[in-house]
C-alpha cells in the first residue's frame, strides 16, 4: 500500500475556512460574497478529486501538522472511507450553495453574511473529520462542527430557534464531553499513547472484553451526531434551521460526520476482527435496530414535512451504524455506500421541502394536497429522491440496501433481515404519501385552476441535479463501490 505525503488534505480542509474572511469583508456586495463561496467550493472539490486516483489505487495520503500531545499529532490521513465522505460533502456543498442563494434571497433572510460564513466553517470541519488521522484530530473537528452549526440552526433567532438550538447543543456538546472525551482518554491510556486509525484497529489485546463494550457504547453515544437513540432528539430540534442548512448539514455533513466517526471507531480503533472475537458489537446492533424501527414509526406520525424527514434521517443513520456493527464485509460496504446514497436522496428531499416552503409557504404534509401540478419539477424530484431512499432500483439507494441485506444474511441473523425489511416498508409508508397527495389529491379549497408556481430557478436546478444524481449513482456506482471496498479489505 502506497503512502503519499502531501498537504492536500490540509488544503482541502482549510479552503473553506480561509474564505470566511473575504466573505465577511464583502458583506455589502452579496454577489461578490456568494462568488467567494463558489470559488472555495470548486477549489475544494478540485483538490479532493485530485487525490482520488491515488486512493483508488489503494494508496493513502498523509500530512502531519505537529505533535500536540505526547505521541499524538494533529494529522491528516486520506483513505477510502474518508475520500468517499469528502467527495460527497464537497460536491453537495456546491449544489447547496446555489440552492441557498435562491432560498435565502427569496426569503429575504437577515444576516446572510453570517450564514454563509458559518456554512463555510462547517464545511471545513466536515472535511477535517473526513481526513483526520487520529481520534484527537477527529474530536477537534467534530466539536468545531457542533459549534459552527449552532448559529446556522438558530439562524431565525426567535423563540423556536432558541429552544431548538438549546436542544441541539445540549445533546451534541454534552454527549461529546461526557462520553466521547473520557472514552478517548481511556483509549489513549490503554493503547500506550497512540490513537492513529489503523485498519484492523489498535486496541486489540490492550483492553478486556468488558472494557471494549463499555468503550464502544461510550463512543457510539458520544458521537451523538449519529443519532442513535436515545440521543437523537437534537435532529428534529435542528429543523428550525433554514432549509439549506437542514439539507446539507442535517442530511449530509453533520449527521454523516456522526456515523463516519462511529465507522472510524469500529474499523480503525477497535478493528472488526477484534470486535467480532469479543461479541462487543451486539449491543450496538440492537440499539441501532431499535432506532431504525422506532424512528421510522415516529416519522409516520409527523405532519411537519421537515420533521418527518428528520426522523427518516435518524432511521437511515442507524442503517449505517447497524451495517458497521454487523461486522461483516458486505454489510460494511453497504453501510459506507449508504453514506453517499442516503446523502444524495435525502438532500433532494430537503431541497424539495424547502422549495415548497419558498414557493407556497407550506410546511405541513396535510397542506400539500395537489401541490404536485403546481410545482412539477420539485415534486418529481421528490418522488425520485423518495424512491432512492426506499431502495428501489434504478436509484442509488438500491445498492446500499442490497449490500446491507446481504450482510444481514451473512451474519445468519434472521431478525436483522427482518428489521431491514420492515423498515423498508415503513419508508414507503412515510415518504410516498407526500408524493401521492401532491399528485393525486385535489387541493382542498375551490382553487381548481392549476397555475405553474415553481420555486426560484436557483432552487429548482440543484434539486433536479441531485434527483438525477440518485439515478446516476445507480448506473455508475463503481467509484463508490471500490472506495467502500477498500475499507472492507483486510490490511
Amino acid at each position: 500500500m502506497e503512502t503519499v505525503v502531501s498537504s492536500k488534505p490540509l488544503l482541502a480542509t482549510l479552503v473553506s475556512l480561509l474564505v470566511v474572511g473575504p466573505i465577511i469583508l464583502s458583506r455589502r456586495r452579496p454577489n461578490l460574497r456568494e462568488s467567494w463561496t463558489f470559488l472555495a467550493g470548486f477549489i475544494k472539490l478540485g483538490i479532493v478529486l485530485s487525490m482520488l486516483p491515488i486512493i483508488l489505487e489503494g494508496g493513502v495520503i498523509e500530512w502531519t501538522l505537529w505533535e500536540i500531545l505526547p505521541g499524538l499529532a494533529l494529522a491528516f490521513r486520506v483513505d477510502g472511507l474518508g475520500m468517499l465522505f469528502a467527495l460527497v460533502a464537497s460536491t453537495l456543498w456546491i449544489v447547496t450553495s446555489l440552492y441557498s442563494i435562491g432560498y435565502m434571497r427569496r426569503m429575504k433572510e437577515h444576516s446572510q453574511t453570517r450564514f454563509f460564513a458559518f456554512f463555510a466553517v462547517a464545511l471545513s470541519a466536515t472535511l477535517g473529520v473526513a481526513f483526520s488521522a487520529n481520534l484527537l484530530t477527529m474530536y477537534l473537528f467534530y466539536e468545531m462542527l457542533s459549534l459552527s452549526t449552532y448559529p446556522l440552526v438558530t439562524h431565525h433567532q426567535d423563540r423556536e430557534a432558541r429552544a431548538g438550538g438549546r436542544t441541539y447543543l445540549t445533546y451534541l456538546l454534552g454527549t461529546s464531553v461526557a462520553f466521547a472525551l473520557p472514552a478517548m482518554i481511556y483509549t489513549y491510556m490503554k493503547s500506550g499513547g497512540s490513537m492513529e486509525f489503523v485498519s484492523g484497529g489498535f486496541l486489540a489485546g490492550s483492553v478486556s472484553g468488558g472494557e471494549a463494550t463499555v468503550l464502544l457504547i461510550l463512543f457510539v453515544f458520544g458521537f451523538a451526531k449519529a443519532g442513535v437513540m436515545p440521543f437523537h432528539s437534537w435532529l428534529p430540534a435542528a429543523m428550525v434551521a433554514p432549509t439549506p442548512v437542514s439539507a446539507l448539514l442535517h442530511a449530509v455533513a453533520v449527521v454523516k460526520v456522526g456515523v463516519f466517526c462511529v465507522l472510524r471507531v469500529i474499523t480503525g480503533v477497535f478493528g472488526v476482527d477484534f470486535l467480532a472475537s469479543l461479541g462487543a458489537a451486539t449491543v450496538i446492533v440492537w440499539l441501532a435496530s431499535i432506532t431504525v424501527l422506532a424512528a421510522s414509526l415516529l416519522a409516520l406520525t409527523q405532519d411537519n414535512l421537515k420533521r418527518r424527514l428528520a426522523f427518516s434521517t435518524i432511521s437511515q443513520l442507524s442503517y449505517i451504524v447497524l451495517g458497521a456493527a454487523m461486522l461483516s464485509e458486505s454489510a460494511l460496504t453497504g453501510s459506507i455506500m449508504h453514506i453517499a446514497m442516503h446523502a444524495m436522496g435525502k438532500i433532494t428531499l430537503f431541497f424539495c421541502a424547502g422549495a415548497i416552503f419558498v414557493a407556497t409557504g407550506k410546511k405541513y404534509v396535510s397542506e400539500m394536497d395537489g401541490i404536485g401540478w403546481r410545482m412539477p419539477f420539485t415534486m418529481f424530484a421528490y418522488l425520485l429522491g423518495a424512491l432512492s431512499i426506499i431502495g428501489l432500483p434504478p436509484f442509488g439507494g438500491a445498492w446500499s440496501k442490497w449490500f446491507l441485506f446481504l450482510g444481514s444474511v451473512e451474519t445468519h441473523n434472521i431478525y436483522l433481515t427482518l428489521v431491514l425489511a420492515i423498515s423498508s416498508l415503513l419508508n414507503i409508508a412515510y415518504l410516498l404519501p407526500v408524493a401521492v397527495r401532491a399528485f393525486y389529491v385535489p387541493p382542498g379549497k375551490g382553487n381548481t385552476k392549476i397555475d405553474l408556481h415553481e420555486a426560484p430557478t436557483a432552487c429548482v436546478i440543484p434539486l433536479t441535479l441531485t434527483a438525477f444524481g440518485c439515478l446516476a449513482l445507480f448506473l455508475f456506482p463503481e467509484i463508490l463501490l471500490s472506495l467502500a471496498r477498500l475499507m472492507g479489505e483486510p490490511s
Binding site: E67, I68, L69, P70, L74, L136, Y139, L140, E143, L147, P151, T154, Q157, D158, R159, A161, R162, G165, R166, L169, T170, L173, G174, V177, A178, L181, P182, I185, Y186, Y188, M189
Partner: protein, 505 residues
C-alpha cells in the same frame, strides 16, 4: 545583568509603584505609562529568566549576598519561572485594559489605584520567587493588603465583601504563619530547601508538631485560595470589586496560592512526607471533588455574570487541588498546566465581563440581549474563553482537562474524573445560557423602544484599549493550547526535580 534577572523582574513594578505614588500626586498622567513600562520590563526579564532556567536549571539569587540558610534567596525553577511570565503577562494586559475602566470606576484615585496595583503585582511576583517560608508570609500580606484596598475602592457591597476578605484572609495568613512557626520550632530554619533537609536528616516525620504545621499551612493556603468550603469570601469580593481590580485579582491570586501550596507540599515537606507518610491524598481529592461540584452548582444558581464567574473560580480551584493531590506525575503536570491556562481563561472572562459591564452598565445575565450584534469582538473573546472553560480543543482548557483526566484515570480515582466531566457539562450549560441570551434579541414586545434607547446611548464595541487585551488573551488561550507540549516539557522538568512522587508502583 544576566544574573540580575530575578531582581529586575521584581524591582521594576516595585520602583514603578513608588514612582507612581510620588509623581502621581503631582501629575496623574504619569501613572499609566510608568505602570505599563515597568510591567513590560518585568515581562521581558521574566521571559529571559525562564529561558535561562530552561537551559541551565534552577537559578538562585541571594538577596544581600547572604548564603542559605542565613539570608533570603530567590529560587527560580521552571515552575515558578513559568508562573512569573504568566503573572507579568496578565498584569500587563489588565493594566492596558485599565486605561479607560479605572478612569470610570475609580476617578480621583488614579495614583493610589496604580500604586496598589503595582504593589499587588510585586507581592505576587515575590510570592512566586521567594525561597524563604517567612518571606512568603510577608509577601502574602503585601498582596492581601493591596487586594483588600483594591476591592474596597468601590462603594457599598464591595466594602462589606472586602471586610469579610480581611477577616478570612487574616485567618488564612495567620494559620500559615503559625505553621511556619511550628516548622521553625522543630527545624530551626526558615529556608524552604533547608527545612526539607533538616526534616529528612533529623527524622522529624513522626513529630506531631510537623503534622500540625503541615495542617495549619494547608488550611491557611486553602482559605487563601478559596478551596470549598473555605471559599466564603471570594464570590462577593471578586464580583463587587472594580472590574480592573478583579481582572488582575481573579486570575492571579488564587493561582499563585495554588503555586504556594505546590511549593509547600513538594519543596518544603516533600512528596514522601505528604503522600507516603501521611497518605491523605484520597481524602483531599474527595474534598476537591466536592469543591468542583459545589462550585459548579453554585455558579449555576447565579444570575449575576461576575458572580457566576467567581463561583467558577471556586470550582477551578477544586480542579487544581485535586490534580495536585492525586499524587501522580500526569495529574500534577495537569494541575500546574491548569494553573497557567486557568489564569488566562479567567482573565479573558473577566476582561469580557468588565467590557460588557462598562459599556452596558448591566450586571445580570438576562439583561445581555443582542450583545453579539452590539459588540461582536468582545463576544468572540468571551466565546473563546467559554469554549476553553468547557474544554473544547484546541483551546488550553481542553488540554488541561486532558492531563487531569488522564491523571485521574491513572490514579484510579473515577470520582475525580466524573467530577471533571460533570463540571465541564455544567460549564457548557452556564456559558451557553449567557451566549444564548447575548445571541438572541429581546423577546418582549417593547423591544423596538428599547432598541432605540440603547441605540441612542451608543452601546458598541469597547475602546481598543479594552478590546485589545481581551483579544490578545483569547489568542493566548489558543496558543497555550496548541503549544501545550512546550509548556508541559518545562513543567515536567520542574516536577521531576521534586523527586519521585512515590505513590504508585
Amino acid at each position: 545583568m544576566v544574573d540580575q534577572y530575578p531582581a529586575i523582574v521584581l524591582l521594576a513594578p516595585f520602583f514603578a509603584a513608588i514612582a507612581v505614588s510620588l509623581l502621581g500626586n503631582w501629575k496623574s498622567g504619569f501613572c499609566l505609562p510608568l505602570t505599563v513600562l515597568s510591567l513590560v520590563i518585568s515581562l521581558m526579564s521574566s521571559i529571559a529568566l525562564l529561558g535561562q532556567v530552561a537551559e541551565s536549571g534552577e537559578v538562585v539569587y541571594l538577596l544581600g549576598g547572604w548564603p542559605r540558610p542565613y539570608g533570603i534567596e530567590f529560587r527560580v525553577d521552571p515552575l515558578n519561572g513559568l508562573l512569573l511570565v504568566v503573572i507579568c503577562t496578565i498584569a500587563l494586559l489588565s493594566s492596558i485594559y485599565s486605561i479607560r475602566a479605572a478612569a470610570v470606576e475609580t476617578p480621583d484615585k488614579c495614583p493610589q489605584f496604580y500604586t496598589l496595583y503595582l504593589l499587588l503585582v510585586t507581592g505576587l511576583l515575590g510570592m512566586s520567587m521567594t525561597g524563604d517560608a517567612f518571606n512568603l508570609y510577608v509577601l502574602v500580606e503585601v498582596a492581601s493588603l493591596t487586594s483588600y484596598a483594591l476591592i474596597a475602592m468601590r462603594s457599598k457591597r464591595a466594602v462589606l465583601a472586602s471586610f469579610n476578605y480581611i477577616i478570612m484572609g487574616t485567618i488564612g495568613a495567620s494559620f500559615y504563619l503559625l505553621g511556619v512557626g511550628y516548622l521553625y520550632m522543630k527545624t530551626g530554619s526558615l529556608n524552604m530547601v533547608d527545612i526539607r533537609e533538616v526534616l529528612l536528616e533529623s527524622g522529624l516525620y513522626t513529630s506531631e508538631t510537623i503534622l500540625v504545621a503541615f495542617m495549619m499551612i494547608m488550611v491557611g493556603v486553602w482559605i487563601k485560595m478559596a478551596f470549598f468550603p473555605l471559599h466564603g469570601w471570594l464570590p462577593n469580593a471578586y464580583s463587587y470589586a472594580p472590574s480592573t481590580a478583579s481582572c488582575v485579582l481573579a486570575p492571579l491570586v488564587t493561582k499563585v496560592t495554588v503555586y504556594v501550596m505546590i511549593r509547600m507540599m513538594f519543596t518544603v515537606f516533600g512528596p514522601e512526607y505528604v503522600f507516603v507518610y501521611l497518605g491523605w491524598s484520597d481524602v483531599v481529592v474527595w474534598m476537591a471533588i466536592v469543591a468542583i461540584l459545589a462550585g459548579s452548582i453554585l455558579a449555576l444558581a447565579q444570575t449575576d455574570l461576575k458572580k457566576m464567574l467567581s463561583y467558577l473560580i471556586v470550582a477551578e480551584v477544586g480542579y487544581m487541588v485535586g490534580g495536585v493531590w492525586l499524587a501522580n506525575e500526569t495529574a500534577l503536570v495537569g494541575a500546574i498546566y491548569h494553573v497557567i491556562s486557568d489564569a488566562f481563561m479567567t482573565l479573558c472572562l473577566f476582561l469580557a465581563a468588565g467590557a460588557i459591564i462598562t459599556k452596558t452598565g448591566k450586571y445580570c445575565i438576562k439583561d445581555m440581549e443582542g450583545l453579539f450584534r452590539k459588540m461582536p469582538w468582545t463576544m468572540v473573546g468571551f466565546v473563546i474563553a467559554a469554549l476553553s472553560m468547557i474544554g473544547i480543543p484546541p483551546t488550553c482548557g481542553f488540554f488541561s482537562k486532558w492531563y487531569l483526566i488522564n491523571g485521574g484515570i491513572e490514579a484510579g480515582n473515577w470520582g475525580y474524573v466524573a467530577a471533571l466531566l460533570i463540571s465541564s457539562l455544567i460549564n457548557a450549560i452556564l456559558f451557553f445560557r449567557v451566549i444564548e441570551v447575548a445571541y438572541f434579541k429581546k423577546e418582549s414586545t417593547d423591544s423596538d423602544k428599547e432598541e432605540t434607547v440603547s441605540g441612542s446611548s451608543g452601546v458598541g464595541e469597547p475602546p481598543l484599549t479594552m478590546l485589545g487585551p481581551l483579544l490578545v488573551t483569547a489568542v493566548c488561550l489558543l496558543l497555550i493550547g496548541i503549544f501545550n507540549q512546550e509548556i508541559v516539557i518545562l513543567i515536567r522538568q520542574a516536577v521531576s526535580s521534586f523527586g519521585p512522587l512515590g505513590f504508585i508502583g
